[in-house]
């Protein structure tokens, strides 16, 4: 069929925008949609950041702020976790980076179905608004849910948990809507990657960013169904009294429903059948993007490209059979521990390979310590720390004393709360010149980097030593002795560092706004990079990306410092010399 071929793609009529509304609000241009996703995600991300301040204030200085009640605390924890994971990281890495990079890096005009893509953003926006609507319900049971981002029933729908009234429903509804949005976007990314590459762009020539984003999208399309279905079942349990997850219980907080025979473990299995792939959904795009950042700024080809690709594929596949490592102490069948510990540690091998290859790319490179490169290096270090502490947790028996303590909190903040965030920053510094045509201010960038990197490390590394339960509003209750005095000091210093790091983010946002008008002109290819997005005829690229015809790809994206060449980079669309 001729449709799949490039000449056809070149002939597709683009729906050029005719008004401000269609250009900036209901735009079908993937680049505009990417920016819309990005701005929205950062906006909710800032909400989540403020929520983390609320939590930290309570932990560091218990009782210092009166209005931080247990309810407010648990609601903040829940919303903080959920927003960060889903509405910031997933939305940013796939919705924003995915949308921006997929067509540009592949040499396509746009996503294959721009209209669906446009709807996707607006549905995402709706999901964010529904989520925030949780704050609108007053009363003792009002406000958003405080069930923890894992939303475990029965607790999540009983009134012993804050927000059991409307909060949990808005949360579930918002998640369902988010999944619809993601599916619309995700189908687009996958179809574009598989069916709409430009001439010469074979899969094995795709930049690793695309591999990461593509694999993460596949994971999303296959993992979100589990969350979607559990959200439906929990809503039914809550609203009309079905007993999917609800066994017979005897609780003063039971709303009088006659629950019988359901299985709370079923929810946990489904949640993590989604949840574990989800953590790789946020990790894989970061893996991909950071590979490109390192290669470009180290002026060296990525080491072991093929193995990197296979590692991404292997991690993606394996991530579906490790889910219950979050449930070692959940009371599941005891023998599951053997299976899941083994699969979990197996997945560490391909991940380790990626780490090695990043560091080996630096070997004998010619490293330019640009701001994106700084973030990339910081990513590798924080990811190694977080990954290694993951190995503690993955080894079932080692997890027994550590589970549900701050060791886990430290693990996932290292590996997810900061590593991919660092990549997002690095990516923004890297592609901002392409998006706006101007460079971000370098000095502010460096200040922002050092505060964020050193600060977050200082926040999360010592957390590993806190052998105290997580999700505790207060430790000193009654004659309790689990919190020692030195831990108090640690908690206070963490809190103060968190304020500082948080404030530093406003520096970054200031930089984003100011540089948009005043930044240095970037030119088409300021970093001297190879991949196709730097080869557009205009910067910023116009609707349709390429001129009359699409570029033709002749090589992989990593021809840096090729011996015998004059320049230290050869873009992908430069033809090979006729071989003698």
């Amino acid at each position: 069929m001729a449709q799949a071929e490039i000449p056809y793609q070149e002939a597709i009529p683009l729906h050029d925008p005719h008004s401000w509304i269609t250009k900036y609000w209901f735009s079908q241009d993937h680049k505009v949609i990417a920016v819309q996703y990005g701005i929205t995600a950062v906006a909710v991300g800032l909400v989540a950041l403020v929520l983390s301040w609320i939590m930290r204030t309570q932990i560091g200085f218990p009782g210092a702020v009166e209005w931080i009640t247990p309810d407010i605390y648990y609601q903040s924890v829940t919303m903080h976790g959920m927003i960060m994971v889903i509405y910031l990281l997933t939305a940013f890495l796939l919705g924003s980076f995915g949308n921006y990079l997929v067509p540009l890096m592949l040499g396509a005009r746009d996503m294959v179905f721009p209209f669906v893509n446009m709807i996707s953003y607006h549905v995402y926006l709706a999901s964010v608004l529904i989520l925030m609507a949780g704050y609108l319900f007053p009363g003792t049971l009002g406000g958003p849910t405080g069930a923890g981002w894992t939303l475990y029933p029965p607790q999540a729908i009983l009134s012993g948990t804050p927000g059991a009234d409307w909060g949990i429903l808005t949360m579930l509804a918002s998640l369902a809507v988010f999944i619809v949005a993601f599916t619309m976007g995700g189908l687009n990314y996958i179809t574009t990657i598989l069916q709409a590459r430009t001439r010469g762009m074979t899969m094995m020539r795709m930049p690793l960013s695309i591999w990461g984003i593509g694999m993460a999208t596949v994971l999303g399309l296959l993992a979100f169904p589990a969350l979607f279905v559990s959200a439906i079942m929990m809503t039914l349990d809550n609203l009309i009294g079905t007993s999917f997850f609800m066994p017979a219980i005897n609780s003063a907080f039971d709303a009088g429903e006659d629950y019988q025979g359901g299985s709370p473990l079923l929810f946990q299995h489904l949640f993590w059948f989604f949840g574990h792939p989800e953590v790789y959904i946020v990790a894989l795009p970061a893996f991909g993007v950071v590979s490109d950042l390192i290669s470009v700024h180290a002026r060296k080809n990525i080491f072991g490209y093929r193995l990197m690709v296979w590692a991404i594929v292997a991690i993606g596949g394996l991530s579906f059979i490790v889910w219950a490592h979050h449930m070692y102490v959940a009371g599941m069948h005891p023998y599951f521990g053997f299976f899941f510990a083994t699969t979990t540690l197996i997945i560490a091998v391909p991940t380790a390979i990626k780490v090695y290859n990043w560091t080996l790319t630096l070997w004998r490179a010619n490293i330019r310590f640009t701001v994106p490169m700084l973030f990339a290096i910081a990513f590798v270090l924080t990811f190694v720390v977080g990954g290694l502490t993951g190995l503690f947790l993955g080894n079932v028996i080692v997890d027994v004393p550590l589970s549900d303590t701050y060791f886990v909190v430290a693990h996932f903040h290292m590996v997810m709360g900061v590593a991919p965030i660092l990549v997002i920053f690095g990516g923004i510094y890297h592609w901002y010149p392409k998006i706006t045509g101007r460079m971000l201010n370098d000095t502010i960038g460096r200040i922002h980097f050092w505060i964020t990197f050193i600060g977050t490390y200082a926040i999360y590394f010592p957390m590993h030593f806190l052998a105290i339960p997580r999700r505790y509003y207060e430790y000193n209750v009654g004659e309790s002795a689990i919190l020692t005095q030195s831990m108090d000091i640690l908690n206070q210093s963490i809190t103060i560092t968190a304020y500082i790091v948080g404030i530093a983010q406003f520096l970054f946002i200031y930089n984003l706004i100011v540089s948009y008008r005043r930044g240095r002109e970037a030119g088409d290819n300021p970093w001297e990079a190879n991949s196709l997005e730097w080869r557009t005829p205009q910067t910023p690229p116009v609707h349709g990306n390429w001129g009359e015809s699409l570029p033709t790809v002749h090589r992989w994206a990593y021809d840096y410092s090729v011996p015998g060449e004059e320049k230290d980079f050869i873009p992908q669309d430069v033809p090979r010399k006729a071989q003698a």
């Binding site: 579906f320 059979i321 069948h333």
Partner: protein, 126 residues
């Protein structure tokens, strides 16, 4: 086949498969009509038959009606491999739910009929 005009196959084939699907469905239905399994009290045969007819029917629909049989292997495998992880999920959940059920029986003194309860059994008495 010449695929430049898409999936084109003789009409007779469709009628054949259509008929076959009727026959298979009838087979499934007859399992219940003759109460296979309930009559002898062991369900293995019933379950086996259900699965055989189910996979036959699903297979024909996917292979012929959805034309998967004529697609290139690249697509076929891309579609058939990922659901493999679901088998892991199903298998482990079957194991898990048996375990939960067992603790209910042992500690809560509950036990359940291996054979489904017939509504007629309780309808008359309530």
């Amino acid at each position: 086949m010449s695929s430049d005009v898409g999936q084109q196959h003789p009409l007779a084939l469709y009628f054949w498969i259509w008929g076959l699907l009727f026959v298979i469905s009838a087979g499934s239905y007859l399992i219940d009509f003759f109460q296979v399994g309930y009559d002898v009290g062991t369900m293995e045969l019933r379950w086996a038959l259900i699965l055989v007819f189910m996979f036959l029917k699903a297979g024909y629909i996917v292979a012929v009606f959805m034309h998967l049989k004529w697609e290139r292997l690249a697509l076929i495998y891309a579609l058939l491999l990922p659901p493999g992880v679901l088998l892991v999920l199903v298998g482990l959940m079957a194991w898990e739910s048996d375990y939960t059920w067992l603790t209910r029986v042992v500690y809560f003194g509950a036990e359940v009929a291996p054979v489904a309860l017939s509504p007629a059994d309780t309808l008359g008495h309530h």
